[in-house]
């Protein structure tokens, strides 16, 4: 077996082990932290599809994260106040059911990513970075100035939404749910990466001219990747909102985009499990350094700088060697 495969399995086992230990030791806070790792990892896996496989440096993925969050917030708030979402042309009610909310989040995220991607992908390189950042910011300001769903103050949801057969309010059960979703997303992305589409996308990243020469359209490949990427990140946004039972414009902020990117980078760009390792490291750092000093972002910044300047393969690259899985 390759070192990376062993490392991936160890990562999953470690997440489960920490959660189970926290469950037996009655430490719900630790379970929440591990759940956060799983949710952030999903956001990172979404971005990694665009960034690692497609080479699209998107600094606006907070837009999709936030849209997932607000999909949950809006549907659940209508359900909780028993007011319909709209009455005309057809009656749409709010819902407290997670599968429905996830579906809405995924569709809304995909649609937004399709529009943002269609516009942004007309450009490349540094323009693309700045434009995705700007579009993310557009949603942020919109969320702040739109008072219907809490505006700047955000929107609390009193009871976590339900999933058939589970008690989602029990931390360990909600962790199990998020972990299962993360594994499903990992499987999906692994399948995408190995599919003809994934190979073409990887080719388009490495050399768009050649891909074009064999009759494929790089723009379309990138757009499809960006759309799927947005949908996955939106799903993680819905899960995150349910974890906190709270949505706020902060989910749209550009710092969120930066953090999602940090998960990918700390773990290793283009590695399937990179975002899982990165999110775990990020949460561990936040927990440990945050306990040491109020100003833990300084250390995070310094660490990120060191990783970028000296250890470009990220955590998985450091352990499993420099060979990159998708190249």
């Amino acid at each position: 077996m390759r070192a990376e495969t062993i490392l991936n399995a160890a990562l999953l086992a470690m997440l489960v082990a920490v959660a189970l230990w926290a469950w037996t030791a009655d430490e719900p806070f630790i379970i929440t932290l591990v759940t956060k790792v799983a949710i952030f990892a999903i956001a990172g896996i979404g971005l990694n599809l665009a960034l690692g496989l497609g080479g699209l440096v998107s600094l606006g993925h907070a837009a999709f994260f936030g849209i997932g969050g607000y999909a949950m917030g809006i549907l659940a708030s209508h359900a909780q106040s028993y007011t319909p979402l709209m009455e005309w042309p057809l009656l749409v009610e709010g819902t407290k059911s997670m599968p429905v909310i996830w579906l809405v989040a995924i569709l809304a995220g995909a649609l937004t990513a399709l529009v943002i991607g269609a516009l942004s992908l007309r450009t490349t390189g540094v323009y693309f970075i700045m434009i995705t950042l700007a579009f993310g910011q557009m949603f942020y300001y919109f969320a702040i100035s739109w008072p219907a769903y809490g505006g700047e103050d955000g929107l609390p949801i009193y009871v976590r939404n339900g999933f058939p057969g589970l008690n989602t309010l029990d931390p360990i059960q909600y962790f199990a749910l998020c972990f299962a979703v993360m594994c499903a997303v990992l499987l999906l992305v692994a399948r995408i990466a190995a599919s003809p589409f994934g190979l073409a996308l990887s080719g388009a990243r490495q050399n768009p001219q050649r891909v074009q020469a064999v009759g494929l359209v790089p723009y379309r490949l990138f757009l499809v990747a960006f759309t799927i990427s947005g949908a996955i990140t939106a799903l993680s946004g819905a899960l995150y909102a349910d974890l906190n039972r709270f949505v706020s414009p902060t989910m749209f902020s550009w710092q969120t985009s930066g953090e999602i990117m940090i998960f990918v980078i700390l773990g290793g760009v283009g590695r399937l499990f990179g975002p899982v390792a990165g999110a775990a490291l990020f949460i561990a750092l936040e927990h440990v350094l945050g306990g040491l000093s109020e100003f833990w972002h300084i250390y995070l910044g310094a660490l990120l700088l060191v990783v970028v300047l000296f250890a470009r393969g990220g955590l998985i690259g450091l352990v499993a060697g420099r060979e990159v899985a998708h190249d």
Binding site: L51, V57, L59, L119, R122, T123, G125, V126, Y127, I129, M130, I131, L133, A134, F135, Q137, M138, Y141, F142, I144, S145, W146, P147, A148, W254, G258, M261, I262, I265, V269, F295, W296, H297, I298, L300, G301, A302, L304, L305, V307, V308, L309, R312
Partner: protein, 305 residues
């Protein structure tokens, strides 16, 4: 809606625009010459504002505060260039984004550590406070008018620097062929440090000027940074002229959007929902402007192919 109010809003837009230009000019120069995307430019803006506020509190002189903002931001810029940025010129944009994002974290938390979380205040000096009467009987704050004039003067100075001086020739040469000017005996490393410090000084100066009408606080730089990105995307990356036109366009759109859109919506809906719709759309207006420009000119108004 009176015409006086409208002129006042146009002037506000212009004032916002020239300040954005000070930010965007540095960004676009740094990108044009070194090919570097610098997210930490907003931190240099913040450094300038904090240096000015601290100096004004210590000495009471606004002029000294402005000088301090220039010096502190240029020094911080040069230091960052020498230690971190120069390792990034040969890297791809992703590495540049991440490393400069890391610098933002360090700068922001470092400033919070030194100055605390509470905002500082920079007073407008007595000789610039109050308002002036413009032709047509329009009252306008003297300080904001001064900002417009200073901004336009700096823009003119920058154009002259780039068009007519030896350093300007080197900057333009560096944009078109960096190996060649290196071969001709120009010290490229020093030139890059100089350009970076110049861009930083402009950003810090803008921070100090704006700091006097807003509060000086950690995180003040990033919203402006993102607007400056919008500006240079609209104007075309690398073009100073594009930065000026883009900055004024964004400044006017932002200010007039917030002013006109709610009033426009009152024409066909009730007042409170018009206010809501109008301000929500106004918040998005500059991004819609950017999307519009990109549809027709993917490399911006003055950008090359």
């Amino acid at each position: 809606m009176s015409i006086v109010l409208l002129v006042e809003q146009v002037l506000n837009g212009l004032q916002f625009g020239v300040m954005l230009f000070l930010m965007a000019a540095g960004l676009t120069l740094i990108f044009g010459v070194m090919g570097l995307i610098n997210l930490a430019h907003g931190s240099l803006y913040m450094v300038g504002a904090f240096a000015a506020a601290a100096t004004a509190a210590a000495t009471g002189s606004f002029l000294l505060a402005l000088v301090a903002s220039l010096v502190a931001a240029a020094a911080a810029g040069a230091l960052v260039e020498l230690t971190v940025i120069r390792r990034l010129y040969d890297r791809d944009h992703l590495d540049q984004v991440l490393a400069t994002f890391a610098l933002i974290l360090i700068f922001s938390e470092g400033t919070r550590w030194v100055f605390g979380s509470f905002p500082l205040f920079l007073e407008v000096p007595d000789y610039l406070s109050g308002s002036v009467t413009l032709p047509g009987g329009i009252e306008y704050p003297l300080y904001r008018l001064t900002m417009i004039l200073i901004g336009l003067a700096v823009a003119a100075g920058l154009f002259a620097l780039i068009a007519h001086t030896r350093i300007g020739i080197r900057i333009r040469a560096g944009e078109s062929d960096r190996e060649m000017i290196g071969a001709l005996g120009v010290n490229i490393a020093r030139l890059y440090t100089l350009i970076f410090a110049l861009g930083a000084a402009l950003a810090g100066f803008a921070g100090a000027l704006i700091g006097a009408i807003q509060s000086v606080q950690v995180g003040m730089g990033e919203p402006v940074l993102i607007l400056a990105f919008v500006v240079i995307v609209i104007g075309g990356i690398g073009s100073i002229k594009g930065a000026l036109v883009g900055a004024i366009l964004v400044g006017l759109t932002d200010t007039l959007g917030g002013f006109l859109l709610p009033r426009l919506f009152t024409l066909f809906m009730d007042a409170s929902s018009a206010m809501t719709m109008g301000s929500a759309l106004a918040a998005m207006s500059i991004y819609l402007l950017m999307a519009g420009v990109l549809l027709f000119r993917p490399t911006g108004l003055f950008g090359g192919p």
